[in-house]
Symmetry: C2
């Protein structure tokens, strides 16, 4: 079915998958150091940009609302976030970080960034710049995040 793909494409796709697993591994390790699951860490990091409703969170995280309820429950239970209510619409709830949650989010984010930076240190600065541009280009091609 896909036998007509040039070899380099296949190899590149494989590299992307392996890189992805590597990054996920780093993400999980750092999250664990802060006593968070990767999903909880990702949630906190998303909320660093400001409070969001459940529906928006579901879109950003690619999660069904039923999956999100429990995830938010667990971070709320740990006092890392709160469920506020919307000013006018009493159906929607705004999930915001607590101070503790914000601190943890920043710590985790910084930890992951630092870890990835050591990985990237192998790459010459010029390549890093190019890589950044290419990734930005790739990510822009999809739905924005």
């Amino acid at each position: 079915m896909t036998k007509t793909l040039p070899i380099t494409e296949i190899e590149l796709a494989g590299s992307l998958v392996r890189l992805s697993h590597l990054v996920q591994h780093v993400f999980a390790d750092v999250s664990r150091q802060h006593d968070l699951t990767p999903q909880q860490a990702q949630l906190l990091c998303v909320l660093m940009n400001g409070p969001l409703g459940m529906s928006e969170l579901g879109r950003v995280l690619h999660l069904e609302k039923s999956s999100l309820s429990g995830l938010v429950d667990r971070v709320v239970r740990r006092a890392l976030a709160t469920r506020g209510q919307h000013r006018t619409d009493r159906r929607t709830s705004q999930v915001s970080l607590t101070d503790e949650g914000r601190a943890l989010a920043h710590a985790t984010h910084d930890g992951i960034t630092a870890e990835l930076a050591t990985l990237l240190a192998d790459l010459p600065p010029a390549n890093r710049t190019r890589l950044g541009a290419d990734l930005t280009h790739l990510l822009a091609g999809t739905h924005l995040a």
Copy 2:
């Protein structure tokens, strides 16, 4: 703690994380189309290179042996793989793909590759080649896979 990182490093790390989530999303979608969980799909893809013992699988997949037992159980239960026994060492077991498992592994692998190829189509061929080289370099810097 990490405030001295150049801005571009931070942005690059962020891009890496977002790319990683994107790839994981593709991986999960394609796996689901084939009625597999991402973990099961990854296991089958690893086994495409030949049978492996549980310990080696754990190393490759970064899983504790207790986690692996269940994962292998489920693909064996679905007749996608079998637990053979080592010729001389009766402790170790060799996990191999069945014909059905091999077919599913190839289908999933091809599907993911095709999906990623459409993503990469946005990128000019020259950049793709460079990107491949850079990723290979990055992946080589870590433990091989």
